[in-house]
């Protein structure tokens, strides 16, 4: 019996989304490329929130065949105009019901008015993620929602419950989960070939420069982007500053540890295959003293994995880009794998055992992996000559050999015909729509995303209380 899924029409999958997951491939990046949907079999999409992140997602969505952008919803007229314009620009030569998507300020009105919607892409501020997702799921739509799931853990729980109550797909935007480099690293290098040996420590950071951490807007705010005060207040914003810089406010977001850290702490939990058992964090308003959230946070997570104890350190700094920006590092007894969304930042370092037989066996294994295409060896960097090396050599480890992954994201042609890597979010969106068509399983459904995000909700409390938090099962489950 063939294990390949049978072709499924758009209307067939709507009622059978749960069943489609079992037994299917985790990722199917090529599936959508090959599919040429008839216009009658389009997936009808609503875009909810067309700010910066909404635009990032749309720039991926426009590359995915078979989508029809039926509606755009945003409380900002400026954003609405941009979103509708962007969708119209790619639909104007297609035979779709409305080349120009319908525009809405209010999601309830959109859901009550629009018929035939299949999916919603939610890129609103964090505190709206949960209400918007739940509304869409309850209306029978599948949802792709940006991370962090919510600004509160209860909001995140509601999303899982709504997805399961309605038996609808809900993918959370931890896009690294669909990145071929991350999937390959986890499944092939860590799991299958045990490249790291025993992972004892993990380390990750997102260090963002001061210039990239500045508020949006200010006194020179353009009149065309201003949202009327009554509308702002209706949708939970006190003023334009809150609307533009919601990431700075405690009631609207989880701050840098959630906004930036969620991506990478998710990788800790994914690669280590478990949730942490405790967190101890510290943070402060060291530079941006007027902001509600800490501008720098450092957190230590303790894990019990099948291999043994793992301590994972994470830092998010908004005042420096030092240390290579953002990456995750998994440090094992045999190798250290540093993953990063930017391919050039990633690297793999092999340890050098002192025992000659061990070294020989390790070299043989790694040479074999290079020969078979699993790894690419980087040319050795010249070793610096220390002036007084003698005193140091006693304590110094041999420099590790440096390797890299054999490739990266697939390439596409941009609108100028230039070959560029596929945008980082696109494989995750492709996975979502492939799952909608019954051709793949979600790579980060709401329940798995919750399990991964739950510990993050306790980082700020730990830093505020200056206390180590030992997790209970209830804290980390729905």
């Amino acid at each position: 019996m063939s294990m390949q899924p049978s072709p499924i029409t758009r209307r067939r999958f709507i009622g059978s989304t749960t069943a489609t997951g079992a037994g299917l491939a985790l990722a199917a990046p090529g599936i959508l490329k090959a599919a040429t949907q008839a216009e009658g079999d389009l997936i009808h999409v609503a875009i909810v929130g067309y700010g910066k992140q909404g635009e990032v997602l749309f720039n991926c969505l426009k590359n995915i065949p078979g989508l029809y952008f039926q509606a755009v919803c945003d409380i900002s007229d400026y954003n609405l105009q941009r979103g509708v314009g962007a969708a119209y620009s790619i639909q104007r030569n297609r035979s779709v019901p409305n080349q120009r998507p319908n525009r809405y300020t209010d999601i309830d009105e959109m859901l009550a008015t629009e018929k035939g919607l299949d999916a919603a892409i939610i890129a609103t501020p964090d505190f709206w993620h949960s209400p918007h997702t739940v509304k869409c799921l309850d209306a029978g739509l599948a949802v792709y929602c940006e991370k962090m799931m919510s600004n509160t853990i209860e909001g995140a729980r509601d999303m899982v419950r709504a997805a399961e109550r309605n038996d609808k797909l809900c993918q959370i935007g931890h896009q690294r989960r669909s990145n071929p480099r991350y999937l390959f690293t986890y499944e092939q290098l860590i799991k299958k070939h045990n490249l790291c040996g025993q992972i004892v420590n993990a380390n990750a950071q997102w260090n963002r420069s001061l210039s990239a951490s500045q508020p949006i807007g200010g006194e020179d705010i353009s009149p065309k982007i201003i949202v009327p005060q009554d509308k702002l207040q209706k949708y939970g914003f006190e003023n334009m500053d809150q609307f533009l810089n919601w990431r700075f406010y405690r009631d609207l977001s989880g701050g840098p540890i959630s906004d930036l850290g969620a991506h990478q702490i998710d990788i800790f939990n994914w690669f280590l295959g478990t949730q942490p058992k405790a967190v101890y964090a510290t943070g402060g308003h060291s530079y941006f003293k007027e902001r509600e959230h800490f501008d720098n946070v450092m957190a230590c997570f303790d894990y019990d994995t099948p291999q043994g104890e793992v301590r994972a350190f994470y830092q998010v700094l908004t005042t420096t880009s030092a240390g290579g920006g953002f990456w995750e590092s998994f440090m094992g007894t045999e190798a250290n794998i540093r993953t990063a969304e930017i391919a050039a930042t990633s690297a793999i370092y092999r340890e050098t055992p002192s025992d000659e037989k061990e070294l020989e066996a390790m070299e043989k294994k790694w040479d074999d992996l290079v020969r078979r295409g699993y790894l690419r060896m980087k040319p050795a960097a010249p070793r610096p000559q220390a002036a007084s090396a003698g005193a140091v050599e006693v304590y110094e480890s041999a420099a590790p050999e440096e390797y890299d992954l054999p490739g990266g994201l697939p390439y596409i042609r941009d609108n100028k015909g230039q070959l560029v890597p596929k945008p980082a979010h696109q494989p995750h969106l492709e996975n979502f729509f492939a799952a909608l068509r019954g051709e793949a399983k979600l790579n980060c459904d709401a329940r798995h995303a919750f399990e991964s995000e739950a510990p993050i909700f306790y980082v700020n409390p730990s830093a505020l209380q200056k206390e180590r938090i030992e997790f209970t099962k209830e804290q980390l489950s729905v």
Partner: protein, 176 residues
């Protein structure tokens, strides 16, 4: 008898020498001219693992070389920019030189290879190399100086080929 035989030049060796010089200079000019029409195109390829395309969709960027009339560049763009700032090079001269350089190398390479007006062709190739030498002197620095030395080696070969012209056999047009 013996004395007469020994004083005769070894014409076969000189002919071989002429042919080698001719061949080297012709190949050098022809291929340099052809390369003026070379360009690159980026493409992507599947990462191969265990001899088969990987199942994750990982790709690598490849750069493929191809030739087309539209790729033509007489003077490399980086050098053209430098030359455009040189007060001794008239503004009108550079675009003309840019257009002429590639075809001139191709024509002279071909005529030298086929033996068409070999002496004149060699002389004109020498003049062309003098013009390139002048440009490299203007650029100066290590790049310019090493380029001048490199072209000087070409000039020695051209002069040597001219010296051997009487022994240059198998020519389509011996005149000039």
């Amino acid at each position: 008898m013996n004395t007469e035989t020994e004083s005769k030049p070894d014409t076969l060796a000189l002919t071989f020498a002429a042919w080698l010089c001719r061949l080297w200079l012709a190949v050098r000019a022809l291929q340099t001219g052809i390369e003026k029409f070379a360009g690159t195109e980026k493409a992507s390829a599947d990462v191969m693992i265990d001899g088969a395309p990987n199942s994750y969709g990982m790709e690598v960027e490849t750069v493929d070389k191809f030739y087309a009339l539209s790729n033509y560049h007489g003077v490399p763009p980086s050098m053209a920019e430098t030359f455009s700032k040189e007060p001794l090079i008239p503004g009108f001269f550079l675009p003309i030189y840019d257009k002429v350089l590639g075809p001139a190398l191709l024509v002279l390479g071909l005529t030298i290879l086929l033996g068409v007006a070999s002496r004149t062709s060699l002389f004109l190739l020498g003049v062309l190399y003098v013009s390139l030498t002048w440009g490299l002197i203007l650029i100066g620095g290590q790049q310019g100086n090493s380029g001048v030395a490199w072209l000087a080696a070409h000039m020695i070969l051209i002069v040597w080929a001219l010296y051997l012209a009487p022994y240059n056999k198998l020519c389509l047009l011996k005149k000039w």
